[in-house]
């Protein structure tokens, strides 16, 4: 198939194809998690059991600590597990294994071991699933030494970044945007090439302000930027794609041009990764070279169930447009 040609997929299918490719490519790669032998809660492993068998597609008990910890142990003897956590919120049941063990083992033991694990953690708001099934805490892991943090928002990135994650010799925390599973898009046909970590994707370009964003909110940001353009406000829109490492150079270069920064994320604004971005940009450019730097995230609340309540606290296209206008006009 010619390299140029592309295929139509959903984001869920893009991830499935990436994992499938890597499991075919490397017999040391396997997947463990609840219901994965039945294709996984989200169907992201459909057909894996049939092709790879129960030794490499391991449906587990409801034992999050051990799903995470056994993945680590198996990595320490040379296998390369994909640790499927089903829904991010359940990772809270496996934090010792993730934070105290996986993230620290290489360092703590002076480089004697490197746990080549990918922890997949579908996260974010999803059809009124309330406080315990909607959390986004990706900023926590940027603050945690020893891990790579990936948060794709497009079919192509879901595939290419998952390939890179599976090939990484250091642990990768992979935040699937669960609200975007059905998102349809295109990706290159044939072999899925790895996408390097730490490179932002520019979605739109403009001189009036810089909008930095990632994960499930990206489509809304694109929509908002288009609406802003109709009002004559043109934004550089950067999808970071990976939060650690993150593309500080691209962000700083853009703000140097626009002098105006807006960070948009679905997670809680207070203490979110947007704060780090603002702090770094101010640090690198100096306050005097920036006209305005704002963040738009969720208020500091658990996620409510009822649609009007969720809508009230959730970052919407309208709110992004309003924030974009304010930033463009401020100062």
């Amino acid at each position: 198939m010619p390299k140029s040609s592309t295929i139509e997929v959903t984001l869920n299918e893009a991830g499935r194809l990436a994992a499938l490719q890597e499991m075919r490519r490397d017999p040391r790669v396997w997947v463990l998690g609840e219901d994965v032998a039945r294709g996984g809660l989200w169907g992201q492993y459909r057909g894996f059991l049939e092709e790879f068998g129960p030794e490499r597609v391991v449906s587990t008990p409801i034992s999050e600590s051990t799903i995470m910890g056994a993945g680590l142990g198996a990595a320490l003897v040379g296998t390369r597990p994909i640790i499927e956590m089903r829904i991010f919120d359940f990772v809270m049941c496996a934090m010792d294994e993730l934070v105290n063990q996986i993230a620290k083992i290489r360092y703590m033991f002076g480089g004697q071991a490197r746990p080549a694990v990918v922890v997949r953690m579908p996260h974010g708001m999803w059809r009124n699933s309330a406080a315990q099934h909607s959390q986004m805490l990706e900023s926590w892991f940027v603050h945690l030494p020893g891990v790579i943090v990936v948060a794709p928002s497009s079919c192509e990135d879901e595939a290419g970044l998952l390939v890179s994650a599976i090939r990484s010799d250091d642990p990768v925390l992979f935040f699937d945007p669960k609200d975007l599973w059905p998102l349809s898009g295109t990706m290159p046909a044939g072999e899925i090439a790895p996408i390097p970590f730490g490179k932002a994707r520019q979605l739109q370009s403009g001189k009036d302000l810089t909008i930095v964003t990632w994960s499930a909110i990206v489509p809304k940001v694109s929509e908002a930027a288009t609406l802003l353009a109709k009002q004559g406000v043109h934004a550089d829109v950067l999808d970071l794609r990976t939060l650690w490492p993150w593309d500080e150079a691209a962000v700083v270069a853009s703000v140097k041009k626009t002098k105006r920064l807006l960070v948009v994320h679905e997670s809680v604004e207070v203490g979110g990764f947007g704060a780090e971005i603002v702090a770094r940009v101010i640090d690198q450019l100096g306050p005097s070279n920036v006209k305005v730097a704002k963040r738009l995230g969720a208020p500091r609340l658990p996620i409510p169930f009822s649609p009007p309540l969720e809508n009230q606290i959730r970052v919407t296209t309208d709110k992004i447009v309003a924030a974009g206008l304010a930033v463009a006009k401020a100062g």
Binding site: E34, D35, A37, R38, L41, S59, T60, P61, I62, S63, E64, S65, D89, F90, M92, C93, R127, N128, S129, A130, A131, Q132, H133, E269, V270, L296, G297, A298, P299, R300, L301, P302, P304, F305, S306, P307, P308, L309, E310, N311, Q312, I313, K319
Partner: protein, 339 residues
């Protein structure tokens, strides 16, 4: 830590012993109401009136009903993700439950919780839980607090057979036995956890042996025989209330539907499904009632249908919560009003 009586299976008392018709009728009414509530909720979910995930316990009504029939209002229960039956059996109102499932004003949680977090603290229902095993440490702690406060009340902890493979099961039972806490653990064993048969992910002889090894005595019972559940719960609740320490009730049951309202559970063998449905606790008790000369079984079904239809209609007609209430009840100090 002695853990007598040794785990054993309680034979269902014949309906004639200990169970007068009034009690049987009450048990029947509660099971029928739970069934009607959840069938109505399934309908409303299909039409989109109920948003979000919905987990129903159709087929399992005998367990919540038989156990809660032995509790007082002061007793506390914790539940799991499948909590409608537990809430109703503990005394929650179907109307306010529908309001919550619909996400409307006046719902038990003001629309913030939905089905997955249904709760009615006023009747001692300390909440459904979105995390498997999440209710175990909470129930154990509630029992510890009640004991500390010299209360006569006890705690009851409902969880599924999938929950016994998470750490909190070991920690919670060891803890309860250690401090001799007034807590009854109820394992609703429907043989499945989400899309996986629990037998394929659970090693060892079973939940009773696990409990025994942690110093908690237990019993097995046919969870679809509500009379047997009532009898077993009566004995265990009495022991727990008397200060004998924790107990565990293992109730074998069957869930008619898939994991969530949208899961058809196509992987299950139709023969097994048919066999499972044949053990319907409601049908079985109805037979007993008729045999005992009761005449109001059908009227009870009709009443329940009306109750739930009205609850659904009222919820559909109810106003949405004020959007600004999204900012209420986070925390007093350090609360935020807007983004």
């Amino acid at each position: 830590m002695p853990s007598k009586p040794a785990a054993k299976t309680v034979a269902p008392k014949s309906a004639s012993t200990g169970h007068n018709l009034a009690r049987l009728t009450d048990l029947y009414r509660m099971m029928v109401r739970i069934r009607a509530f959840e069938e109505t909720a399934l309908e409303a979910h299909k039409t989109g009136e109920i948003p979000g995930p919905l987990h129903v316990s159709i087929g399992q009504e005998g367990v919540a009903t038989g156990v809660c029939a032995n509790l007082s209002r002061e007793d506390r229960i914790t539940s799991n993700h499948r909590g409608h039956g537990h809430a109703l059996a503990k005394g929650a109102e179907s109307g306010r439950m529908f309001l919550e499932l619909f996400g409307r004003e006046g719902g038990y949680c003001g629309g913030k919780g939905g089905s997955l977090h249904i709760a009615d603290f006023s009747v001692g229902m300390l909440g459904a839980n979105g995390v498997v095993s999440g209710g175990i440490p909470i129930a154990v702690g509630a029992a510890q607090g009640l004991k500390m406060l010299k209360s006569k009340a006890i705690a009851v902890c409902f969880f599924g057979d999938g929950a016994i493979n998470r750490g909190p099961f070991l920690e919670g039972l060891n803890w309860a036995a250690l401090y001799k806490l007034p807590v009854l653990f109820v394992c609703e064993d429907n043989g499945v956890a989400a899309f996986t048969a629990t037998a394929t992910v659970t090693a060892g002889p079973g939940v009773l042996a696990r409990a025994e090894s942690l110093g908690v005595a237990g019993m097995s019972v046919d969870g679809n025989n509500v009379i047997a559940v009532d009898a077993a719960a009566a004995q265990l609740v009495a022991e727990v209330r008397a200060g004998a320490g924790p107990r565990l009730l293992h109730a074998k049951t069957y869930r008619w539907t898939g994991h969530t309202s949208t899961d058809v559970a196509a992987w299950r063998d139709p023969k097994d499904v048919a066999a499972g449905k044949a053990t319907c606790p409601i049908a079985r008790l109805k037979a007993t009632l008729v045999e005992r000369g009761a005449t109001d079984a059908d009227a009870i079904v009709a009443q329940a249908a009306t109750e739930m239809a009205q609850g659904r209609a009222a919820a559909k007609a109810a106003p949405w919560p004020q959007p600004s209430t999204a900012f209420d009840d986070v925390q007093d100090v350090g609360a935020v009003r807007f983004g």
